[in-house]
Symmetry: C2
């Protein structure tokens, strides 16, 4: 059989693993695809760098555009990341009828529509399993296995760096800064950790997941995003004392009437008995709740060279098979055309700790304020006395707008000395 030629864009942590696997598993891949794969070239920013791969140096090029438009190239793998030049290169390749496998969550969440449109026009495949939750098969199950079901909610831990940091804070009592520093030392966090700790990475993934789950077009701009930089050791400890753990969650949920959905990334308290509470270190796990299937969970390594390369290779086999069969995989599905509702419309619950004056009537005043905003209280507990008096309140479900308005007014209440912490509560409904 004539080999299928593969162009690789990027030769970093993931790219080198892709090359290694294409080499080590060449015979298996050929048998599974029905034709051998051949590496046509590897686009890099700089030549002559020492790289951890054994391939013909002549395969390296700095001219990515020339590589992806070569007539003999069938499939392009993009693992550069970022918006440009990735977008231009992918569109170039797709426009020429090539199939593309990408791990680029940021680009898909920013401008997936352009890529999908180019794939449709060029009649090629655009696969991106590696863009969310690394090695965990998640997009294909959503896109194909659950194609006959009605997905109600996707809720998960999709960023390993922040999970590592929060896990360290939970197990050792470390501050955010110390835990981040440890994560950086161990290579779990980058020198500039903004994309992870501010939730940008998770938000991009949430947008991709919501688009697939709800058959609609979703971009990063639709995602309400809060990071973990404000989480203190005290927040973590008081969650722990109540039997909760703080996780950075990505949540995509249909509204009750099914006519819109919410997409959000923020830290939340979940009960320690919840399966996501047991997701340690840099692991990822995602719950999918569908009408007929019920609750499903997917767990595994969400990042790293080899796990991400595994997902890339799975897609590579699929698009290669499709090319041999002269067909394409499932297209982007946006027929439902639902929109994201504002965060204020999202229904959630809240944990709030108030430093209060320790005198009769305080609880009544606080309770009255919650009632005014139609927020009902599930539990309230007073801790400490005198100047240390603290009211710890957990609400029932209410809109985020009502909860926010309540918190706002609480800050102005004379009997409240300070709102010590506010955190959404998820996973026990």
């Amino acid at each position: 059989m004539k080999p299928l030629k593969v162009a690789l864009l990027g030769c970093g942590v993931v790219g080198t693993q892709v090359i290694r696997l294409m080499h080590d598993q060449a015979a298996d891949l050929a048998a599974r695809i029905g034709a051998p794969l051949e590496l046509a070239g590897v686009a890099v920013r700089r030549l002559g760098r020492k790289r951890d791969v054994e391939i013909d140096p002549a395969l390296f090029t700095t001219d990515a555009e020339a590589l992806v438009t070569r007539d003999d190239v069938d499939i392009v793998i993009e693992v550069i990341g970022g918006i440009e030049p990735a977008r231009t290169l992918i569109v170039s390749a797709l426009s020429r009828g090539k199939s593309v496998v990408t791990a680029n969550k940021a680009l898909l969440a920013e401008d997936g529509a352009t890529l999908h449109e180019a794939a449709r026009k060029g009649n090629g495949d655009l696969y991106f399993e590696a863009s969310v939750a690394g090695a965990i098969p998640l997009l294909r199950p959503l896109r194909e296995s659950l194609a006959g079901d009605h997905v109600k909610r996707v809720l998960g831990i999709v960023n390993g760096t922040t999970n590592y940091i929060l896990d360290k804070m939970d197990t050792t009592g470390a501050s955010f800064t110390d835990a981040l520093e440890e994560a950086q030392t161990l290579g779990y966090a980058e020198a500039d950790p903004t994309a992870d700790v501010e939730g940008f990475d998770a938000a991009a993934k949430a947008a991709i997941l919501a688009g697939l789950a709800f058959h609609s077009r979703v971009t990063a701009a639709d995602v309400h995003r809060e990071g973990i930089t404000e989480i203190t050791a005290t927040d973590v400890a008081s969650a722990k004392a109540m039997g909760y753990v703080i996780k950075l969650l990505a949540i995509c949920a249909r509204s009750d009437d099914g006519r819109s959905f919410g997409v959000r990334v923020h830290p939340a308290m979940i009960p320690r008995t919840h399966p996501l509470a047991g997701v340690r270190e840099a692991y990822n796990a995602v719950f999918v709740e569908a009408e007929s299937a019920g609750q499903l969970m997917f767990y595994g390594k969400g990042a790293g060279g080899a796990p991400t390369a595994s997902a890339v290779l799975g897609d590579l086999v699929a698009v290669a098979r499709n090319r041999l069969a002269g067909t394409r995989g499932p297209e982007e599905s946006t027929y439902a055309d639902l929109s994201a509702h504002p965060m204020g419309d999202t229904v959630t619950r809240c944990h709030v700790a108030l430093d209060v004056a320790d005198k009769p009537g305080v609880l009544a005043r606080v309770a009255e304020l919650f009632a005014k905003h139609d927020v009902s209280i599930q539990t309230v507990r007073q801790e400490g006395h005198g100047d240390d008096a603290q009211l710890v309140i957990v609400t029932h479900r209410a809109t985020d707008a009502a909860l926010s308005a309540t918190m706002e007014e609480l800050r102005d209440l004379d009997i409240v000395r300070a709102v010590a912490s506010v955190m959404r509560v998820e996973g026990d409904d």
Copy 2:
């Protein structure tokens, strides 16, 4: 668009849910497929039975063969179960170029080769996601997402009935008989529970999983099978005391040299800290260990009408899309052509409790016997005194043959009054 016509074989728990979903989600399914689906007929054993579906009674027929061979039928869904007439009907349909979606694990494990061959010749699809672990997307991830990786091991709980029984025994201290009775009352176990409690159902699923994981042909006859009927409340309690829980596991593992594999279904002790230990009631969960992806876990409802129907519908959408595109999904992949090795070659660990005479030299004699068989001991503990003296031993990894031979000789040792329990230990390597 011209509708795709679907014939349904069987109208039991799963079949009625398939009909309901095809009706309730008709618009979504049409949008996702690109053409509407139309129910062409439903084959049942007896007409006139009251059924929980609202469809035109004229669609029911007892002539399944005539239904699956009708020229206008595009896709056949088989949810009758059992070997015949399911096999004949599926082969009839496939031979006429129709695509088939089936949930029939027993048939696939008994004679999958015949079905796959018919699909190949007829140029149609044979999809069977629902045959293993109900709603949990597991076969598609193995077959497609991990197509670029090297699967080393699949280990999981794939039978909900036995998990329900073992979970009850663990949480309430009930005997096997009482727990089974409760499972039957609640509808988790059938009147004749043999297929579940003797491990036949799990063994069929293990054969299917091993075939996909190792790209080889595997049948139920290749699976070493032990059920849970011999498990006593004492076994469960003593596992609990040691921090273990007993689960019925399906394990497919490559040999260390990669040239063969073992497939087995048997009860085993796993550490309470292992994620599978937390799988309660009738839930299923499967670990997949691949070279690059690392450890992945899939969790969800492994049985039931709606969850199984969700998996059937996912496959239905896939084969319908393939028909419209004039293509087929991935074929059976058996190129690796590995064989299952005998159970004796499998490497595992053992927990054994011995009622012994309480006198000096007993441990030395016992230890000597283990050493003779090259089985090294990890921990040994004496419990009780005098006539109640018991030695509880956990071994290191050894071949099952060596472990069995050791147990055999222990029974004959004069200082051993009885081998109180023997159980394999998994999940802490």
